[in-house]
């Protein structure tokens, strides 16, 4: 290698060698100034090539700092990458791959890194010891918020972007038999051995090129060839194997239970803002590994001496990397300071690159073959000495002062000698990278002779094997043999037999160091004394560069009693920076152990936590943003609402129309108009989102009697009843109307937001506590679209479309009829949430839009008015009806609501009953639901406002309760409110006060919560208005005039490399029954004409029917659309006395079909199941998860192709997720 020749890419660039592409020159900008580098450079190597050492100001004292390392451990060179929306703070320059046009800036300095006003802190350092902020700014406590703003500003790192990130990010699940972390010699050998056994292997490395330490090694050979050629050969062999996946530029961030690991990959296609929006920027890998081999290497340990934080002081291994890997000689006159034998090869490499080199060895009498060779090559050695001062000026080191160390290494003696140099390399041995092992709950042990922590034992829930330098095996031979052994063992544990040959012999590098103390290879001295006692004088010993903590801070911590490692770290902030103290932790522990006179392991070590290096939020979020952050479930009528300009509100995860503003209307105007229309003519509400549960079985009454507070024993078929559900605390958690459809058949409704909770509540009781109850519950929420017709004209409008006598005798209030509406099968409930004459019409979801549109047409002459949830809230409040979850909050009993009438006194038991007898629930003076009228009838008080008895000039005031519902009611003609107030029933008539945040206070009178006391009107009261029936729709119009389409029919098929479309609509029946009951099984199989699969996650297909196993007593039948009725009827007839349930769910699900070469990769983005072609084969099916959606996945072809069955309200979510994912395969 020759001396540096200034090339276009920097004056420190060597003329030959390195892993860079000299054929191309890349322009980049640092702090606004233009520089050049080559492909293969990192930002750090390119800056050093251009002789830029000073890259930032320190966190606390604003001291100038330079590039310290060449890897992920970098504590100093954190830069702000790019600007505006694409900016990323705190990027380690040592890991940023150079790309054309890259722009980076130094952080934590103003106005510039060279002239930084914050550096005044350094002058004031005596006043800023560890714990300074806590001690100084904590009093008075109320001012901390003020101080903090300025402190944060002064002690900041980078700035986070304020604009929306124009990039997109990917996120995927992955599965493998063996995961190998680290692509150095041990990792490569492990990956090869494991892959050759046939195991699925993933190998990842944080750098863009595999090879690890071998990339910086020009002197070792493996199997007779240069080490780097061996690396190329292994990579080529791995790339040729189908069962090996290589992930460069991928950092393992976290190692969690059961070998679940998270890694972050930077896309190699993505280079800066020019790529934004074109290709994904980063990909988060969520890997479930059978076995893990950690070959993460080791981090060089610094030596800490007086002012060793100056720019130009670097880890010696980093200097070696810059020379050998990047062909950059960062200094011409290099002083190395070492306490061990690892220095000699580096010194020789530096000399070979054209630098003049000398070594200061803190050991007085070290002698090794390597040292002898260095001596022979003319490298000057200063044994038994240390550096006591650094001559630093104008951004560069100019020289050092050295003195002799005392025998015990605690002080310096003798004359002071000045030596010139422009770069200092420090070598304090190696710290094995045990972070991941520790994250996985692995216990560490301390090796006394090697002075480092290594892996000890792992809990059973993880299985990691450590290999190579991270296990303190530093010799290349050992790395290869340990890697080989680890690869074989991991594959063997995963059930694969090793077929690899033993690793090749290495050409032993005679200079390879033995770093044990007992052999004299290392002197355990890292905090080096200077001519002033530590903490005195102007020189500082920074052991922690990232957070600016000094050895003097550790002494202070010890004096003040913060001696345990957990206290030490928080007091001094050691190890709490974004680098997690990769270079500082062990030196801090050692310093504390010396101060306290106890061994290092007794001081302890902290548990390392994820992430290993910081992750971006973009990567964590991945596809889960915008419409994919939370599924937006929409009703079948959503498009109509949208076209009408409805304003939507989120209820649970549903989008419900809140109101339908007409041209020029405010929300207030629209809601008032809608409320009046419902009571004066006819309102129409989309109530499809209400939870619906189908209950079948002879013990339904027993179940209902336990679930609800009232008595269900005497509800006749065809009748409906309202009920309150309590938890075991006796508190209301849901309510709804349940109807008896047949002797042993009920239809339950729940609140929109409570649907899943109620379904789970029922299933949990049935499955765990009351398995003897003969009841099957089936969720049918999406099966039906529900239209609520309200108001005086609703009966006449309905009468036009149904063939059903509509009078109070044949269809009384609180009853249900199964009929047809305009030809569509329908269930019509005469129930009311508004206190108006009302019908809730349930039709199969696919007809929902058709029915809605037909009703709007036919209802025009009655003045039909679509209304939203806001008007619904007002209307029910006018009647004093509660909304569970708004007027209740988990602390409210039925008695608190004044609903004693619904709580059975005769039932021996129901869920929550016993709690009503508890002293706290039974006491007087609880918060109770009352009405509340403002003195000013035009004033609508905000919900959540407090109600007080006595007004004071300022908070706090004694709170009696709060307003739970508050509206302007056009029907009452004034504002109305509901409130939960202490002892509210007894206070009716009292005047209380509601103070608001704006300082105003309002007088309110407590009243009964029913503002419109008239009972729900009968049909007979409806005056005839002489309107002519509509001829266009009639009583069968929809059956013939409308083509039934899937509720998700607005889904556009996706075509291209991978295609996604909705499968043709099929009939579906959910079947439940006991497979051990032979009669049931035989009858079901004969009626369905298919064998019921009894094995979990299997299906049977025959002709145009498919039957899926969906639970141990549950199946899902896919059949022709017109068969479902006949099938359920035949089952009923043939199994009259058998406990089973057949429930039509045709409209409940949609089936998407995904077909294409990337289908597995696309599903893996959000599905945790291992879909490897050998593990999930054609015909296989499984119920699993895709993002937030439960899916039934069925592999239908080897292309590969999948049917994805999903509740239709999640169809759009799944489709959009897959479309988003298609951008990243």
């Amino acid at each position: 290698m020759t001396a540096p020749v200034p090339d276009r890419a920097g004056k420190n660039r060597l003329a030959s060698g390195g892993r860079i592409d000299r054929g191309r020159t890349i322009e980049f900008y640092y702090d606004g100034k233009r520089y050049t580098g080559h492909p293969g450079d990192t930002l750090a190597s390119a800056l050093l090539a251009n002789d830029v050492h000073l890259v930032g100001r320190s966190f606390k004292y604003h001291r100038p700092r330079g590039i310290y390392s060449a890897g992920s451990e970098e504590p100093n060179a954190l830069v702000q990458l790019e600007s505006g929306a694409c900016t990323t703070p705190n990027m380690r320059a040592t890991e940023v791959e150079l790309y054309e046009g890259l722009r980076a800036a130094s952080q934590n300095c103003w106005p510039s890194v060279k002239f930084d006003l914050g550096a005044i802190n350094s002058r004031l350092s005596r006043l800023l010891p560890a714990g300074f902020y806590y001690k100084t700014f904590m009093w008075p406590a109320s001012l901390w918020m003020t101080y903090e703003k300025y402190i944060r500003k002064a002690a900041g790192l980078g700035r986070s972007p304020l604009e929306i990130d124009p990039d997109f990010y990917d996120k995927t699940h992955a599965h493998c038999d063996v995961l190998v972390i680290g692509g150095g010699p041990a990792g490569l050998q492990a990956a090869l051995a494991a892959a050759q056994s046939g195991a699925q292997v993933i190998l990842l490395d944080s750098m863009s090129e595999f090879g690890g330490s071998l990339l910086s090694d020009r002197s070792s050979t493996i199997g007779g060839v240069e080490a780097i050629e061996w690396v190329a050969d292994i990579i080529a062999r791995l790339e040729a194997m189908d069962n090996a996946t290589l992930l460069p530029q991928t950092t393992l961030a976290g190692y969690y239970d059961y070998n679940f690991l998270v890694a972050n990959q930077k896309s190699s296609e993505h280079s800066g803002p020019a790529s934004a929006g074109r290709t994904f920027r980063e990909r988060l890998w969520k890997i479930r590994a059978g076995q893990v081999v950690i070959a993460a290497g080791a981090i060089e340990r610094p030596l800490v001496f007086a002012d060793s934080d100056r720019p130009g002081v670097m880890l010696s291994g980093a200097i070696r990397s810059y020379i050998n890997r990047y062909a950059v000689l960062p200094g011409r006159n290099i002083a190395f300071l070492t306490n061990n034998d690892s220095i000699w090869q580096t010194a020789l490499d530096a000399q070979d690159a054209g630098a003049s080199v000398y070594v200061i060895d803190v050991r007085g009498n070290a002698a090794s073959a390597a040292q002898a060779r260095a001596k022979n090559q003319g490298i000057a050695i200063h044994p038994g000495k240390t550096i006591v001062g650094v001559d630093y000026a104008r951004g560069r080191i100019r020289g050092i002062e050295i003195m002799a160390l005392s025998e015990d290494g605690a002080s310096v003696t003798g004359p002071r000698q000045r030596l010139s140099c422009d770069l200092i390399g420090v070598a304090g041995g190696w710290t094995p990278t045990v972070h991941l092992y520790s994250q996985a709950k692995g216990k560490l042990k301390y090796l006394d002779d090697l002075h480092c922590f290594v892996a000890d034992r792992m809990p059973a829930s993880n299985s990691a094997i450590m290999a190579g330098a991270c296990n303190a095996d530093y010799r290349l031979d050992d790395c290869l043999s340990q890697g080989f052994k680890a690869g074989c063992e991991a594959a063997g544990n995963a059930g694969f037999e090793t077929r690899s040959a033993q690793p090749p012999a290495t050409g032993a590098n005679p200079l390879e160091a033995n770093l044990s103390e007992s052999s004299g290879g290392l002197r355990p001295l890292w905090i080096l004394p200077s001519d002033h006692p530590i903490g005195q004088g102007r020189k500082k010993h920074f052991h922690e560069l990232h957070n600016d903590a000094t050895v003097a801070d550790i002494h202070l911590a010890a004096r003040e009693g913060y001696q345990s490692v957990e206290h030490l770290k928080r007091y001094t902030t050691t190890g709490m920076g974004t680098d997690q103290g990769k270079t500082s932790n062990l030196n801090a522990l050692t310093a504390m152990s010396e101060i306290r006179g106890i061994p290092v392991p007794e001081v302890g070590t902290t548990t390392f936590r994820p992430p290993f290096t910081p992750l971006t939020f973009g990567s964590i979020v991945g596809h889960d943003r915008r419409q994919l952050f939370l599924q937006a479930r929409k009703t079948p009528m959503h498009d109509w609402h949208h076209r009408q300009g409805a304003v939507f509100e989120d209820v649970g995860d549903w989008k419900r129309p809140r109101y339908f503003p007409k041209e020029g209307e405010t929300m207030h105007d629209a809601v008032q108009r809608e409320c009046l229309a419902v009571r004066k003519s006819c309102g129409i509400l989309d109530a499809s989102t209400l939870g619906k549960i189908d209950l079948k079985g002879r013990d339904c009454i027993r179940l209902l009697n336990m679930l609800y507070t009232n008595d269900w024993s005497k509800l006749a078929p065809g009748r409906c009843r309202y009920g309150l559900m309590l938890d075991e605390h006796g508190m209301v958690f849901d309510d709804g109307v349940t109807s008896r459809l047949g002797d042993h058949h009920y239809h339950m409704t729940t609140t929109t937001g409570g649907a899943a909770r109620v379904m789970n509540w029922i299933e949990e009781w049935l499955q765990t506590e009351w398995p003897e109850l003969e009841v099957h519950a089936t969720s049918v929420t999406e099966q039906s679209a529900v239209v609520a017709l309200n108001g005086p004209a609703s009966a006449r409008l309905l009468g036009e479309l149904v063939d059903l006598p509509l009078d109070d005798r044949s269809f009384p209030f609180m009853s249900v009829r199964e009929t047809r509406i305009a030809g569509i099968p329908a269930r019509i409930f005469r129930i009311s949430f508004t206190g108006e004459l009302s019908f809730e019409i349930n039709v199969p979801a696919r007809y929902g839009l058709a029915l809605w549109t037909a009703l709007m047409d036919a209802g025009e002459k009655y003045g039909i008015c679509p209304y939203g949830t806001e008007a619904m809230h007002v209307l029910r409040a006018e009647k004093g009806f509660i909304i569970a979850g708004q007027d209740t909050d988990g602390t409210v009993t039925p008695m608190d609501l004044g609903m004693d009438w619904i709580v059975s006194k005769t039932k021996e038991d129901f869920l929550g009953k016993r709690s009503h007898a508890r002293s706290d629930t039974a006491r007087q003076g609880r918060k109770q639901l009352v009405g509340l009228l403002t003195e000013d009838p035009g004033r609508v008080l905000p919900e959540g406002a407090h109600v007080v008895e006595e007004l004071k000039s300022a908070p706090p005031m004694d709170m009696l309760g709060h307003i739970s519902s508050s509206y302007m009611s056009p029907n009452v003609g004034r504002s109305i409110a509901l409130a939960l107030v202490k002892d509210g029933f007894a206070r009716k008539g009292q005047v209380l006060h509601v103070p608001l945040l704006d300082g105003s206070a309002h007088k309110v009178t407590l009243t009964d919560p029913v503002f419109l006391p008239a009972p729900t009107p009968p049909i007979a009261d409806v005056p005839a208005d002489g309107a002519e029936p509509s001829a266009s729709i009639g009583k069968t119009g929809l059956a013939t005039g409308w083509q039934a389409t899937s509720p998700a029919c607005n889904l556009e098929p996706v075509t291209g490399r991978n295609s996604l479309r909705e499968q043709p609509w099929r009939g579906k029946v959910n079947l439940r029954g006991d497979p051990e009951n032979r009669k049931f099984l035989a009858t079901a199989e004969s009626v369905l004409d298919i064998q019921l699969p009894l094995q979990s996650n299997t299906q049977h297909s025959s002709g145009d029917r498919t039957c899926y196993w969906t639970g141990p007593d549950e199946w899902l039948l896919h059949c022709r659309l017109d068969e479902t009725g006949a099938i359920t009827q035949a089952l009923q007839e043939k199994l009259p006395d058998t406990h089973f349930a057949a429930t039509e769910v045709t409209d409940y699900y949609t089936v998407l079909h995904l077909d294409g070469p990337d289908a597995i990769a696309l599903l893996a983005k959000a599905c945790p199941l291992d879909l490897h072609p050998a593990k999930f084969t054609v015909g296989d099916c499984a119920q699993t998860r895709f993002g937030h959606a439960s899916i039934l996945l069925h592999k239908t072809a080897d292309t590969p192709a999948f049917d994805i069955q999903v509740r239709w309200s999640y169809t759009e979510y799944v489709r959009d997720y897959l479309v988003s994912a298609m951008r990243t395969v």
Binding site: S461, Q767, E769, E908, D909, R914, N1097, G1111
Partner: protein
């Protein structure tokens, strides 16, 4: 992130499941006969075990069945899973 052995579906990712708290807390047969303290025990009090813990899970994104899990809260090792109604499983060492 555990791997949980659903008694019906086999080993699946934890994200398919939901935890439902301590297992083997039978609902009293006759709540009316219980003292406030006994009822309070049932409603409010749960173990916070360091070590072997019996808990109830549901395979919410799979077969939607409830089952019991024996987990060591220190190591997060799952020793066994079983269907409701089956005898309380022991702990393998």
């Amino acid at each position: 992130m555990f791997i949980i052995d659903c008694p019906w579906c086999g080993q699946r990712d934890q994200s398919e499941f939901t935890a439902h708290g301590e297992a083997y807390i039978a609902r009293p047969r006759q709540p009316g006969q219980l003292s406030d303290e006994e009822w309070g025990d049932y409603v409010f009090f749960r173990k916070n075990t360091k070590g072997i813990h019996y808990e109830r899970w549901v395979h919410s994104h799979g077969c939607r069945r409830w089952f019991n899990v024996v987990r060591d809260t220190v190591t997060d090792r799952i020793h066994a899973t079983c269907k409701p109604g089956e005898p309380r499983p022991g702990v393998k060492e």
